[in-house]
Symmetry: C2
DNA sequence: CGGAGTTTGTAACATTTGATACATCCCTAA
DNA sequence: TTAGGGATGTATCAAATGTTACAAACTCCG
């Protein structure tokens, strides 16, 4: 039996009461599938023609590089959907291989049936649109970030963005190692670049807290 | 008067007859706005709560860097929509400033009215879903590409992708300069890297045509 | 055929970053 | 308090890429 209380917490069905969700779901076909730990859920490259939502447990997305070695991309826990941005679009194939982390159950709705839901309930529609739009926006931001050439530029962009209009002291929300990974650089390189900016008087670094001293010059770094 | 023949060619309304489109559009509120050459259409940061579709002429998207200098991002010509991926989502604000390249007219539909269209016609719905999903997929691919560290890896990935299962001679669809820009590297660096791969016997370069000699080693380059 | 403009190949040098190693600082638990 | 582990700062050297400049090849016209 489907747990509608839980399902109503999923990003796709958020804002809909469990009662209403019960009514809605009676009008479409869906399945609930169970998987054992380490069982293959979908294989990268498979056509993505059903929406999956994790109801119980968690799954992991893995991507195979060219040599066959797999690396873990992300965990998806209940009640989140799976690859929502790949149900539609030109290349509607799973970009990753999905494997059950533990005993899981998944809600599975075919694309045509899900379309019915979208047309029937405007809340589901806006939820879904918001979800894939947010993803596109996130990716767009990420690309803008990756397009900065030097580490100094990435730091400047990151700090200015973090500081916003507020006062000039920023507390870094990530450790140096995490930040380096986010920037796509090595940790010592990041530390060096921040040290240089410190010596040059643009910022003042004290472990996790950074004071922006020369906003003007920080901006100029981004000129390119 | 709206040109429904043209509008039916827009990605959002593709596959719908002009007659049907005429009927549909009678049921929602919309406006057609004209702009002079160089007139400001939307300002970066403005809330994006209407869908705009270019009906006539073309507009350009510009982005201001931190110094205030603007750089052109892209041209959008009739009958394409404007920032379709920013109507919904968490940050529904225009990422770019849009300016009319010439005398243009734009179809403008408010978000609630556009939602009506999406619910009313499944073709419009799938068109729109496909559109932003494709964008997310494109961006996702782009990020994967940008995540390759070395130029050699980018070349290997690009050539293997281009070659696919076909024969081993590939004709580059881009000039070296364009390719370098796509890779985010300088042209001489790209030429050097290709020259090295040539000397090492992995490929054979003859200006725009490239023969892949050692697919095995090319794959190994991508190991990391 | 010939010359101008564009694209491509190459070279020398400067800069940036990665890799590795190690010292120092901070926090926490015994 | 103190030992130990993790996070951070710094140094050194190697590798990759950018910068600049120029030569060679190709293309398009006249």
């Amino acid at each position: 039996m489907l747990d509608f209380e839980l399902l109503a917490k999923s990003p796709v069905f958020m804002g809909i009461s469990a009662e209403r969700l019960f009514e809605i779901m009676q009008q479409v076909h869906y399945q609930v599938k169970g998987f054992q730990k380490n069982e293959l859920v979908v294989h990268a490259g498979d056509e993505c023609n059903r929406l999956f939502i994790v109801l119980e447990g968690s799954v992991k997305g893995e991507m195979a590089d060219y040599t066959g070695k797999t690396i873990k991309i992300e965990d998806i826990e209940a009640p989140r959907p799976l690859a929502a941005a790949f149900l539609f679009g030109k290349n509607n194939r799973f970009p990753v291989t999905v494997i059950a982390n533990e005993q899981v159950s998944l809600l599975s709705i075919s694309k045509p049936e899900f379309l019915k839901l979208l047309q029937q309930d405007s809340r589901i529609l806006t939820n879904y649109l918001n979800s894939i739009s947010s993803r596109a926006q996130f990716l767009s931001q990420r690309i803008k970030f990756l397009s900065f050439k030097t580490i100094r530029q990435k730091i400047a962009h990151y700090l200015l963005d973090l500081a916003g209009d507020r006062l000039a002291v920023v507390e870094l929300p990530l450790s140096q190692a995490q930040l380096a990974e986010f920037f796509g650089v090595t940790r010592p390189s990041l530390a060096r670049a921040m040290g240089e900016l410190d010596h040059e008087g643009l910022i003042e670094v004290q472990r996790r807290s950074v004071r922006i001293l020369d906003k003007q010059k920080m901006n100029e770094l981004l000129k390119g």
